[in-house]
Every structure is written in structure tokens, then in C-alpha cells.
């Protein structure tokens, strides 16, 4: 079954770059959404479930770390939604923390199509 994708980043340019890189990776999605911060993302998730969310960490209003916690604690309908952080943050402590809070993976910026293929393929079936 075709999957849906949401890209969450405060940079409109970065959202386009991520979308382009996802296409270059060969992964296909039936529907794509985007959001400029955690608040917007949560509103869209409440409106309809998304299979995979690619999410930045540092964003105004609500960052990615807070968004992950809220999705996992307040949106039970999104229990199956996979959340993968896409960020320049690289400390192992942060990675461990966000995974413990419910994220399903981590992709560092700068990224390549191959990295998206590697990290997202397990969630496509």
C-alpha cells in the first residue's frame, strides 16, 4: 500500500530540498504534506494520519523534540506513524533522547538520496 509523507521544517527551501532528495532516492509516496513547525505538523496529524514524518529539530514555536513527545503522548491514532528526525544536530545524547521519546530514526544534514533510501526503506512495506 502506498505511503504518505509529511516534511516538517521551518525552512521552505529545505522542505523542497528534502522532497527532491526523497524523489531522487526512488521512494514513492501517494501523498505528501508539509509543515513549518511542530504545531502545524500536529494539527495536520490530527486531521489525518500520515505514515512517515521527516522532522527538523530546531524550529520556532515548537521544535522537533517537543513535537515527537506530543505526538507519542497525545495522538494515539498516530501510534503507527514513523517519525524520522532530519537535522544538523549530531550529539549521541540527543539522538538517544529523541529515540527514547518515540522517534524512529535519525538522518543528519547534509544528506544524500542514498541515506534516505537506507533509513526510510524499512518503513515502506
Amino acid at each position: 500500500m502506498a505511503k504518505s509523507l509529511m516534511i516538517v521544517d521551518d525552512s521552505a527551501t529545505m522542505r523542497k530540498i528534502i522532497m527532491r532528495t526523497v524523489r531522487m532516492s526512488g521512494l514513492e509516496f501517494s501523498r505528501t504534506e508539509d509543515a513549518g513547525n511542530g504545531n502545524e505538523a500536529i494539527e495536520k496529524l490530527k486531521a489525518g494520519s500520515i505514515d512517515i514524518v521527516l522532522c527538523d529539530v530546531n524550529m520556532p514555536e515548537m521544535g522537533g523534540l517537543e513535537m515527537v513527545k506530543k505526538v507519542r503522548s497525545e495522538l494515539p491514532d498516530c501510534a503507527d506513524t514513523k517519525i524520522v528526525m532530519v537535522t544538523t544536530e549530531s550529539s549521541q545524547e540527543l539522538i538517544d533522547s529523541v529515540i527514547a521519546d518515540g522517534a524512529n530514526g535519525f538522518i543528519s544534514k547534509p544528506f544524500t538520496p542514498e541515506k534516505f533510501q537506507e533509513k526510510l526503506s524499512p518503513f515502506m512495506n
Binding site: 521551518d10 527551501t13 523542497k16 527532491r20 544538523t88 549530531s90 543528519s108
Partner: protein
């Protein structure tokens, strides 16, 4: 304690990683240390701070001409040279480049300096732009050439001590 050579190396390597991976452009240290960027420029800036003990605060910037900034944005977005981009899109791209270079530098220096907290990037435009952290700030400045055609400057100002 980390020295300026390590910071310079990490900075240049971090920038190369970003430019090669995301922008598909070469970036090399310039052989002309006095080169200036002529005309209108864009300066992407991101601030950082270390743990309280070292009182480290700093600012990393990337400055290039507007023509260069447009090419960077077009390449990042996979668009053609003749395609149009808004000023906002170009600024956004430069902000993201600054953000990613900071991330790459941070990763390279992490074992030496510990964790750094970084801000959201800002981008300004104008002529003869430069950043300042006031007196007693140390500065690492690297003049570079992008695609052997566009001069640019990478600079890192900091006060306090790296671990």
C-alpha cells in the same frame, strides 16, 4: 585546549562536505588572502554557545556575492541556471547552508569542545558586511573560492574558551 588550526581545518572540511553533498559545487581555500567580495553580498550567520564552564559564545558566518548565492540556491533546489528564484528563497538557502556548515563543524569539534547549542540562522544583505563579537573576540577567517569563480568568506568569531 583546541587551537585555531584545528578550528580552521574543521571549518573548511565542514564547508566542503556541505558544498559537495548538497550544493554540488567545489569550495577551496583562496590563494589570495586579501580578496574582497565585490558588490552586494549575503551574509548567513548562526550563533552558538558552549557549556557554562567555558563561557564560550560565538558566531559562524558565510558571506558571498548575490550572484553566487543564487547559484547555490538553484543547485540546492535542482533548478536550471535560467530559473527564477525569489530573494526570500535565496536567503533561505544561504541560511540553510550556514546551518549545515555549523552542524558539520560542530560534529568535527565535538570530541574537543563538547556540545554546542546553536541558534536558528539569520541572513542579511548589503555591502561590506561583517560580524562582530566586540573586544576580546578571537576570529578564524577563511577566504575561499567557490567553483574557482566566486569569492566568499567563512568566518568564526568566539569569546571564552573551547574545552
Amino acid at each position: 585546549m583546541i587551537d585555531q588550526i584545528c578550528i580552521t581545518d574543521a571549518f573548511l572540511e565542514g564547508a566542503k562536505e556541505v558544498f559537495e553533498t548538497m550544493i554540488f559545487m567545489d569550495i577551496e581555500k583562496s590563494s589570495e588572502p586579501e580578496q574582497e567580495i565585490e558588490g552586494n553580498t549575503l551574509l548567513g550567520s548562526i550563533t552558538f554557545k558552549g557549556d557554562i564552564e567555558g563561557n564560550l559564545v560565538g558566531c559562524l558566518t558565510i558571506c558571498c556575492g548575490t550572484a553566487c548565492a543564487k547559484i547555490i540556491a538553484l543547485n540546492m533546489l535542482g533548478m536550471e541556471p535560467a530559473d527564477e528564484l525569489s530573494e526570500e528563497e535565496v536567503r533561505d538557502a544561504i541560511g540553510e547552508v550556514t546551518n549545515m556548515v555549523m552542524g558539520s563543524v560542530k560534529t568535527r569539534l565535538q570530541d574537543s569542545v563538547g556540545d554546542l547549542q546553536v541558534s536558528i540562522p539569520t541572513v542579511i544583505s548589503g555591502r561590506w558586511l561583517e560580524n562582530s563579537l566586540g573586544e576580546k573576540a578571537s576570529k578564524v577567517s577563511i577566504k575561499v573560492n567557490i567553483e574557482d569563480e566566486y569569492p566568499a568568506e567563512l568566518s568564526l568569531l568566539y569569546r571564552g574558551t573551547f574545552k
